[in-house]
Symmetry: C2
DNA sequence: CTTAAAAATGACCGGGTAGTCATAAAGACC
DNA sequence: GGTCTTTATGACTACCCGGTCATTTTTAAG
């Protein structure tokens, strides 16, 4: 387990405050860059206190990571369930919108994920990254498999390749929404709902039909 | 100018060694994480010497950045020229292969670019990122515009949206080649040439025709 | 009220960082 | 060989880091 007993004896709201503060710090600076000193000073507690809750920086990080993964897992599961009767491309559309909503609700989690993807220093980086990527690719794979059964998806192309393309475009869409200058002139960054949905529709349509004439 | 006169008085091979060593350090650790101490010790020179060549960490970083950008610019220009008579989707295919080759030849540049995309700390990060992204999106835009004129590309869809999709997939392909666990099960990471070309062909075909039935 | 257990504290440690600067070494010119 | 300029050097400064631990404060039990 990542946290010590003392941490769980804390009032729930304080646990949450610790978690949120650390999450913000890690997601903005990355694992190495995050400062325990800054976290405790933001929390207004003594340096030693955080070491009553967690054995070290690593275990604090892993605790937060687990929390984030669980949130993502639940969200994906829910979208999958809510759209279970919808056509495949509607499900893809809804998944993208859900992604935008998730980032809106938990801005630091997605930022933290992007940070970690290109860090070498995070502890167990490879295993953790694998965990997240597996979610995403299992999710998309199941969407496409069901789509094939319903006859909405091509059967003459490698499933993995289609998952790759879908994953690439969806992830980049969310990246462009989160980070400026990543959207090739689409200006998605922090765009508001009605407009963003228009772009989602266009992208999904393009994934369906391709760019060739 | 980023470097001091003293730096340019150095023998060219030493200039190159400094540049390569610093590039490696920055691309592996990011701007904040990179250590001047480590760079000079790898180079076998005194700490003070590097400050004879560059005023500070920032200007060393900017010098390296400029070098990398120039390399990318030249490479894109060349591919564009070499494929000028080819059909659009062949040009896209060739561009992807050129990307793989570039990473093979200059492994630290692409890694550094990825690092910077998700760092907050790099100096002038936004301006620098914008510079690179603009290259890429101008390049893809011109490919697609010429493709439209030749009647190979759809005309009923927003050009920017097509550029976005193309950019997303191509960039992710190179990311997956560079970093493990980003490829949704395609196992692109460090894959050898004949196989990787097969995947490129499949991806490009999918971009052309879409995943819908 | 007393006592024992649990939690909070912050000065302190060893080690890392970017950058400085007086001094020494090397080169260039006559 | 002497003089002046350019380059190389590394000890040093001020600051930040993660983590420790003896001590104090708070809480709970009897």
């Amino acid at each position: 387990m990542e946290a010590k007993k003392t941490f769980f004896n804390l009032p729930e709201e304080k646990q949450k405050r610790v978690l949120e503060t650390a999450l913000e710090e890690f997601s903005e600076k990355g694992y190495e860059g995050a400062s325990i000193n800054l976290i405790v000073s933001k929390l207004g507690i003594a340096k030693g206190s955080i070491y009553q809750y967690f054995t070290d920086k690593k275990s604090l990080f892993l605790y937060i990571f687990d929390y984030a993964v669980e949130l993502i897992r639940k969200t994906l599961k829910q979208v999958k369930y809510e759209t279970r009767e919808e056509p495949t491309f509607e499900r893809i559309r809804r998944s993208l919108i859900a992604g935008v909503d998730f980032i809106e609700r938990h801005p630091f989690i997605y930022r933290g994920y992007l940070k970690m993807m290109f860090e070498r220093e995070a502890p167990f980086r490879q295993e953790l990254l694998q965990r997240i990527r597996l979610f995403s690719s299992e999710y998309l794979t199941s969407l496409l498999v069901e789509g094939k059964e319903k006859g909405e998806i091509r059967k003459d192309v490698n499933l993995e390749t289609m998952v790759f393309l879908l994953d690439a475009v969806m992830d980049r869409f969310l990246q462009a929404y989160t980070i400026p200058y990543l959207d090739s002139g689409l200006n998605l960054n922090q765009m508001k709902r009605p407009e963003i949905e228009g772009h989602v529709d266009e992208i999904v349509e393009l994934i369906r039909k391709g760019i060739g004439k």
